[in-house]
């Protein structure tokens, strides 16, 4: 059944919101359990939760304001303008008009592996980087699809969204870590001095719950974070079609990049989630599915095909893409 990019966009936004909600609830549960276990009161639970979030947020302030420059420097990107890269600049201009956002800064990475990323906390402070390999291997239509995808990340505030989810997940990890160390080192279970009647028994139970959560929550949080990342990738694909009104360009770009064997040298585990397709190809082969920041390329192509009512990829075609992914 054919879909519209509007319905895909709607579904993606709902899914990412629900996933973020899961993380928030998880943080709330963990914080409450730990707080209550340690202090025996609900006020303590609240204090611990809020404290963890605030601390996690403070750690991320630097990333919020200077994160894009750090990422661009780490990727050895250099800025280009209309004279040095006319076609790239023009394509970014065209799609900025379609998206109704100010023109982002345009950067080039000297690498033969075709890829791209966008960074920046909002459309007014955004940057887009592409590799020279991408420019060589894509025709104009495909380039439009890729740039449309990246600009959609900017327009949908995905970088900010990812940072937010990252803060929450980081807070969960921090809280769990501190609590587990505390339990280990101090023999656990220091009861609150205002031990009221049956409070002791409940506190002990909550203490066990807290320990279990502290072990499990960071893993769940990380998995949810990766799921959010995948949802936003689908969203960026659908939003790119919203901009270009042409799924074929993006589809061809995805297929071309999937079958390209080159490795992007400047990418690392820290920056892989930002790119158009996962640049660390070996990693993606080893741990697909739940642990991947990007959805499988075959799925992305199938979703684009749904928009025009075309048949999805055949198993043989999927093999070709997956084998060389």
């Amino acid at each position: 059944m054919a879909a519209t990019f509007y319905s895909q966009i709607g579904a993606n936004k709902r899914n990412s919101f629900l996933l973020a909600l899961v993380v928030i609830v998880l943080l709330g549960l963990l914080g409450s359990a730990i707080g209550y276990a340690m202090t025996g009161s609900t006020a303590g639970a609240l204090a611990v939760t809020i404290g963890a979030v605030v601390f996690g947020a403070l750690l991320s302030v630097g990333s919020y304001f200077a994160g894009d420059q750090a990422v661009l420097a780490a990727s050895q990107a250099h800025r280009v303008d209309a004279e040095s890269q006319p076609q790239l600049f023009n394509v970014v201009t065209e799609l900025s008009i379609a998206a109704g956002i100010p023109m982002p800064a345009v950067y080039l990475i000297d690498d033969t592996a075709p890829n791209a990323f966008a960074t920046g906390r909002d459309p007014a402070h955004a940057s887009i980087a592409v590799t020279s390999g991408l420019l060589e291997k894509m025709d104009r239509e495909e380039l439009q699809g890729v740039i449309g995808h990246e600009l959609s990340h900017v327009r949908n505030y995905d970088i900010r969204y990812a940072l937010l989810v990252g803060v929450l997940v980081g807070s969960i990890a921090l809280l769990a870590d501190v609590f587990l160390r505390y339990t280990f080192w101090f023999g656990g279970g220091r009861r609150s001095r205002d031990d009221r009647g049956g409070g002791g028994g409940l506190q002990a139970v909550i203490f066990v719950v807290a320990i279990l959560l502290a072990i499990v929550a960071p893993i769940i949080g990380r998995l949810v974070q990766l799921a959010v990342s995948r949802q936003r990738e689908y969203l960026a694909d659908a939003s790119s079609v919203d901009l270009t009104r042409n799924p074929h360009g993006l589809e061809r770009a995805l297929a071309a990049i999937a079958t390209d064997q080159e490795v992007l040298e400047v990418a690392s585990r820290a920056t892989q989630h930002l790119y158009f397709t996962n640049p660390i190809k070996k990693f993606e082969q080893r741990s697909r599915g739940l642990f991947s920041t990007h959805p499988p390329i075959a799925d992305r192509i199938d979703r684009l095909r749904k928009l025009t009512g075309e048949a999805p990829l055949t198993p043989a075609e999927e093999q070709t893409l997956a084998g060389l992914d």
């Binding site: 879909a3 065209e94 008009i97 104009r140 042409n246 025009t308």
Partner: protein, 241 residues
């Protein structure tokens, strides 16, 4: 404490605040529509300004193709004049200009020295991107109109929109002529037509009218690869974009 009175006042204050927020939102959307409309004019003017350079760059090489050059120059003049005659006349004149440009680029295909000329290539890229920007400006205008019309017709803004003077805006729609395939006149100069110069079924710079339906045909906006030598590629379209 007179509770009923306090509650009534609270409700009134909340309603007033809500109306203010809704009103500001609607004004912002309406202004965006106006801005998008103005931006289309910016792009059209850009195209008008680029054309004399292009004509001069190719004129020296194409002694036998004067008709094509004259067509482009005249179409440009008409398009500029039509700017003052309202959007319908302007759209029509601009479509004629697009057709003339396509003919010109199709003929350029026949001249290898011209095809490889840096100046011409750069101008070709400029015109391609301008065509795209015109298309995307119109698309963005339609997107703004959609957003605005949706806001004034859905709850809760629909309650106050009519009273406060917010009216529906019209989408930019392709002219009837724009739906027909442009013919490329290749009989000038007696040179054999290059196979790359195939008109596609896509209408000239006519943007999609924006109702939320799956894209029916590839829009005119994304043009082919800059390597205009790709002849016969169905996705490439006419070299002029």
């Amino acid at each position: 404490m007179n509770w009923p009175l306090i509650i009534v006042i609270a409700i009134v204050v909340i309603v007033i605040l809500a109306v203010i927020l809704l009103y500001n939102g609607l004004v912002q959307k309406r202004l965006r529509v106006d801005e998008a409309l103005a931006q289309i004019q910016v792009q059209l003017k850009r195209r008008h300004d680029l054309i004399p350079n292009l004509v001069n760059a190719v004129r020296g090489y194409m002694e036998f193709e004067q008709k094509v050059l004259t067509d482009v120059t005249n179409a440009r003049a008409s398009a500029i004049a039509a700017g003052a005659q309202g959007p319908a006349a302007q759209a029509q004149a601009e479509n004629v200009l697009t057709g003339a440009l396509r003919s010109l680029f199709a003929v350029v295909e026949n001249y290898p020295q011209l095809k490889a000329n840096e100046n011409v290539l750069s101008l070709q890229e400029q015109l391609t991107t301008t065509e795209n920007q015109i298309g995307f400006s119109r698309q963005h205008y339609n997107a703004s109109v959609l957003d605005y019309n949706t806001s004034i017709q859905t709850f809760p803004a629909v309650l106050i929109a009519g009273i406060l003077g917010f009216v529906k805006r019209e989408f930019f729609e392709a002219e009837a002529e724009a739906q027909t395939v442009p013919t490329v006149d290749l009989t000038l100069g007696g040179a054999a037509p290059a196979t790359g110069a195939m008109p596609t079924a896509a209408p000239p710079v006519a943007p999609p009218a924006a109702p939320p339906a799956p894209p029916a045909a590839p829009p005119a906006a994304p043009p082919p690869a800059a390597d205009a030598g790709a002849s016969g590629d169905p996705n490439a379209g006419p070299p002029a974009g």
